[in-house]
């Protein structure tokens, strides 16, 4: 495949007073919605959608949208509504990453809505499925202990609804439907490309490989992403097939400006209280329990650790594995996050070299630039999009991964 370059914005509600975040120590689940300002949110929507349009105009291949609940992190409380709007505002692919299917009691509704989107957009949809974060389970009262079971069962049901003639009956463990017979089916046959996404849960990586679907790494450090690629390939090879670049996506905090220094300073917006980095920080309940002091601690990133990982949501392996390593890699600072590659910043020349290094080591078929975050000003965001579209993406389009060519890995710029 030809590598594709997507634009991503959480479209987060960045108009909350920072003092309120400091007062409560978190910005999700129970952060009081009396702080929400409707008029500011209306204006933010227009700004975010304009940024999406601009990325499309400048040659991005597509856009990624997502879903979160009860949080300033993202105003997208329905990924399908975001996607519906984007299909009308951008030219390329719209990747939904994704529908948090365990929170739904009727997964067929999701199958129906994706089919509508695919038909309306003329087959421009990628359908991602996610387990949803811990907060999504709590805010929708979806039992976290059954999250993975519900994810896998909902996935099988949706796939069957798209690929096998209805009507049929579904009597599963978590879902029971007498008549599955959605009238509309997706335009793409047998169904839109399916992605799973995660922050390095090894179970999800293995499961994705078993299903032969694309795994999108969400904002993780390069070392961990390369490890995830290896796990995926091992599982695939054990099953007798070889994955291609199209089986790996990589979504990364990206801040490009006219100079390295400007980009580094502007990139701080990606490390704020609403950033994904804080979100993926401390989430191991057992970790807080083994500490002699403190109980329900608060992470630096605005998430309450118990909410990020309610009981049963993560296995012990996931709690103590890659994510913990990643947190160590970032050293808890913005500078550390830069060194670990959790945030990629630079002027065009520098950032092109950084992304060549990333492509050389991970060879993602889909590179997703998380290019707007926090309170980054609109004009800086637009300039970043312009540089990505006019200089960075064209320079990367012809770059073949060292994993394919066998050439030396492009060095990380000093």
């Amino acid at each position: 495949m030809k590598r594709q370059f997507f634009y991503f914005s959480e479209m987060g509600y960045n108009a909350y007073p920072i003092e309120a975040a400091e007062k409560y120590g978190y910005t999700n689940l129970m952060f009081p919605n009396s702080i929400f300002d409707r008029e500011k949110a209306r204006d933010l929507w227009q700004m975010f959608l304009r940024e999406h349009e601009y990325a499309s105009e400048l040659g991005f291949d597509g856009a990624v949208c997502n879903e979160h609940h009860n949080t300033v992190l993202s105003m997208q409380e329905s990924v399908n509504i975001s996607a519906a709007v984007l299909t009308q505002r951008i030219k390329g692919t719209v990747a939904l990453v994704g529908n948090p299917i365990p929170i739904h009691d009727n997964p067929v509704r999701v199958a129906e809505e994706i089919a509508m989107l695919d038909l309306i957009s003329g087959g421009r949809i990628i359908s991602g499925f996610v387990r949803g974060g811990g907060v999504e389970q709590l805010s929708t009262n979806a039992n976290p202990a059954y999250n993975r079971e519900r994810f896998e069962e909902a996935f099988q049901l949706i796939k069957k609804a798209w690929t096998e003639p209805g009507p049929f009956r579904w009597e599963g463990k978590h879902y029971h439907l007498r008549v599955v017979n959605p009238w509309q089916l997706p335009l793409q046959k047998p169904h839109p490309p399916i992605w799973a996404a995660g922050i390095l849960s090894p179970e999800t990586v293995r499961w994705s490989a078993k299903q032969r679907i694309t795994y999108l790494v969400l904002g993780s450090a390069l070392d961990a992403t390369a490890e995830c690629r290896s796990i995926y390939h091992e599982v695939a090879q054990a099953d007798g097939w070889t994955p291609g670049p199209e089986h790996l996506g990589y979504l990364l905090h990206t801040c490009v400006m006219d100079t390295d220094e400007q980009a580094f300073e502007m990139g701080r917006h990606h490390y704020g209280i609403s950033s994904g980095i804080g979100r993926t920080g401390v989430s191991a309940s057992s970790a807080s329990l083994t500490q002699s002091t403190g109980s329900a601690g608060v992470t630096s990133g605005g998430a309450h650790p118990e909410w990020a990982s309610p009981p049963g949501y993560m296995t012990r392996a996931a709690r103590t594995g890659a994510m913990v390593k990643q947190r160590r890699a970032s050293e808890g600072t913005y500078e550390g996050a830069n060194r670990a590659g959790l945030i990629v910043t630079g002027g065009s020349k520098t950032i092109i070299q950084k992304f060549k290094h990333i492509i050389d080591r991970a060879d993602p078929g889909y590179l997703v630039f998380w290019a707007r975050e926090g309170k980054k000003p609109h004009d800086a965001t637009m300039r970043g999009i312009e540089l990505l579209g006019k200089e960075v993406i064209p320079a990367l389009r012809g770059h073949e991964s060292a994993l394919v060519t066998g050439k030396e890995v492009t060095p990380w710029p000093q």
Binding site: S285, L289, T290, S295, A296, G297, W307, P311
Partner: protein, 265 residues
């Protein structure tokens, strides 16, 4: 009183799973159904009761070292499992049962359908009914550690709190706490820690029942205790002073006195 003495702890095969069981004492059988924190150990209260009873404390499926069958998804399933367990152990019925918190809910469900199982029933800070005033504490918005502290009126003055919950946890101990939280989620997530049908069935309970409540319980509001007492025909209530949700650990002497008096009466 020091933690004791003559009790055994073993893993046995019973009721379709491997069960961790603690047992001590002599006399009529007293089956203990633990709460959402599992069985922390052989408590002082068990030891004192073992002077008058054959105290049997199984870890329910998914708790402690008892295996978790995935089919158990609700408190009804646990209640049915308890009868199976008693049959496999050839425990003579009727017998005395104490249910703590979540285990109290299990016992109450069982008492509505199997009165022949019970001689007498003790419900301690029992979950299972929606309080008319106040709300059941939401453990899952807080850490396990916070949940433990909230379950005690004065945790820092309680020897057994320090012994089992206030100490530095090893990774394995912390993981077991998470395991108990997960199992509780599996069976009591929605509606949270209560049944919509149980209050309607409580009048069917014919078993003499003692409802025990810590006077400072902020986990299950006192109004839940009142529902149990008012709905069960032959029920009386006792409040334990200076105790929260775990009177058996925080005021073990007063707790044992109340329970023994009721069961031997």
């Amino acid at each position: 009183m020091a933690a004791v003495s003559n009790y055994s702890e073993q893993l046995i095969e019973a009721a379709g799973i491997q069960v961790q069981i603690r047992r001590g004492g002599r006399g009529p059988t007293l089956l203990v159904l633990h709460g959402e924190f599992g069985v922390p150990g052989w408590l002082d209260a068990y030891d004192q009761l073992a002077r008058s009873f054959d105290v049997i404390v199984p870890s329910l499926p998914g708790f402690g070292a008892s295996t978790r069958p995935d089919w158990i998804m609700g408190v009804h399933d646990l209640a049915a499992w308890v009868t199976w367990f008693a049959r496999d152990l050839q425990i003579a019925t009727p017998l005395n049962v104490i249910g703590f918190s979540l285990g109290g809910w299990v016992a109450a469900e069982l008492a509505t359908v199997a009165p022949q199982f019970f001689k007498k029933l003790v419900l301690v800070g029992a979950m299972g009914v929606k309080p008319e005033a106040g709300e059941i504490f939401d453990y899952f918005l807080e850490s396990g550690k916070t949940g433990h502290r909230r379950a005690f009126h004065q945790p820092d003055q309680c020897v057994e709190f320090a012994r089992y919950y206030g100490k530095e946890m090893s990774v394995d101990e912390a993981e077991q706490i998470e395991q108990h939280r997960e199992m509780t989620c599996r069976i009591a997530w929605k509606p949270y820690m209560h049944s919509l049908t149980l209050p309607h069935l409580l009048p069917a309970i014919a078993t003499p029942t003692l409802v025990v409540w810590g006077a400072h319980d902020i986990i299950t509001p006192l109004s839940s205790a009142n529902i149990y007492q008012c709905s069960i025909k032959d029920a009386r209530i006792v409040s334990i002073d200076h105790a929260g949700h775990m009177p058996e650990m925080e005021q073990s002497a007063a707790f044992v006195q109340a329970v023994r008096g009721f069961l031997i009466d």
